[in-house]
Symmetry: C2
Subunit: 243 residues, 2 copies
DNA sequence: AAGTGGTCTAGACCACTAT
DNA sequence: TAGTGGTCTAGACCACTTC
């Protein structure tokens, strides 16, 4: 998973994003697609692909016949729900120094619904990792990851268990996380969870119940995560379907 | 907002989606892009645009060099967070008969943070609508919508207040909702909210705090919504950023 | 009327997967 | 090596906004 130099589209997107955040565009107006294509020496299609991605993530908006503009409210979103890949990166975006504590690694027999979600028999062995993510020493996320033990191709190196989950899966299972299917569940934190996150018991919190799939569409990990709402709030942009 | 016949891409997307859910494709393998283009008599670009959308919404996945395939787990998602536009539609997707109760319409002075979110002065008049959405007589969503009174171009017709919010805004304010900027907040329901939703007080719930913008990027509505988690659970697909 | 984004075409070449 | 999806080009026409 080392492959490919950035595509032209990616480079154009990054270039435009830089200029947008730097405030290069007067009154939020971005040059026309034809003009950008000529300036950057690429085809209009490439420009359009890059602009579409920027629009998708809320950085710009387009008005047919009028032009393309910087989207100020959209620019302020940091933790965009659909784009979360590792909590380390989320916290860096917040401007904090992230760190991880591995609270426990053990093997246990899978119970439902975990077994079913992972496509293994109930009672099958899973590796459970409990981790706490902190930003500037403040605990923010408490997660439990369950991986079928059968996927492990080597012994778990405790010194390497603090790496991001996708890296752990690549190193130990030769599996590459392609996407998560996530459910958002409201909970109140129990005494243990609240203690770990440093808040009062019964504090309301968001919980993610999710299944991570690899490129072959096989479930490889079942995660449960609890978030401290006062430190990490999720935002997203909702659009009319099909737009 | 009546415009345009479905684009070719939209038609291709709808056509393929039909065949996918009908199970037309053996072993989940979808014909190659070249083949689809020839069959449907459109360019490969059009096919690719349609496939990209289907991939985006999780219905299919593509593997370079291998082919395009039906994504079974992704197909099962009904309430995809990013695509919610009206709760009526969400409930129809669930297979229930939706209905709406308007619990109250009144004018009040805007307080923070509502005034700031709507870009008006604190104390400015807003119209507050309290609504309850039900599926098969079971309450599922409790929402409060705040609209600056200055935007109202005609008196509010109580008989028409049960229409979806975007329709209400078009009819009364000539404003067209373009997107929502949403925050996901964990709460426990207070006595009144729990009573309206038919659950025990202090039940944990998801709350959406959101600002609706029109095409000119002006905030037009500030919404707060509470959901019954046992009846409506949100799901989403999370991918690596930039993929 | 001029300029913008929206859609679509036809074709090229590359990277990757299968066999 | 043949076939697939990934990227990119150059150009056409349309719908819409703006002046």
């Amino acid at each position: 998973m080392i492959t490919r130099s950035p595509s032209l589209t990616d480079q154009v997107k990054a270039h435009l994003k830089e200029r947008i955040v730097a405030g290069d565009f007067e009154e939020g107006r971005i040059p026309s697609e034809t003009e950008l294509a000529a300036d950057l020496g690429v085809s209009r299609t490439t420009i359009r692909d890059a602009l579409s991605r920027l629009e998708q993530e809320g950085s710009i908006y387009r008005k047919q016949g009028a032009g393309t503009f910087v989207n100020v409210p959209g620019l302020q979103i940091k933790s965009r729900l659909e784009e979360i890949w590792s909590y380390e990166e989320v916290m860096e975006d917040h401007g904090y120094t992230p760190s991880v504590q591995v609270l426990g690694i053990e093997r246990e027999a899978a119970i439902e619904p975990f077994a079913g979600d992972l496509g293994i028999e109930p009672g099958g062995e899973v590796l459970v990792m409990e981790k706490l993510f902190l930003e500037d020493a403040l605990p923010v996320v408490l997660t439990y990851n369950r991986i079928p033990a059968a996927y492990l191709q080597k012994d778990v190196d405790p010194d390497r268990s603090d790496q991001p989950l996708y890296a752990f899966l690549e190193a130990h299972c030769d599996r590459y996380l392609a996407y998560y299917l996530s459910e958002i569940v409201p909970v109140v934190l129990d005494a243990y969870q609240a203690d770990q996150l440093g808040v009062a018991p019964n504090t309301p919190a968001i919980c993610f119940e999710e299944i991570g799939f690899d490129q072959e569409n096989t479930p490889v990990v079942r995660s449960t995560s609890y978030f401290r709402d006062d430190l990490l709030r999720f935002r997203l942009i909702r659009r009319k379907a099909g737009a």
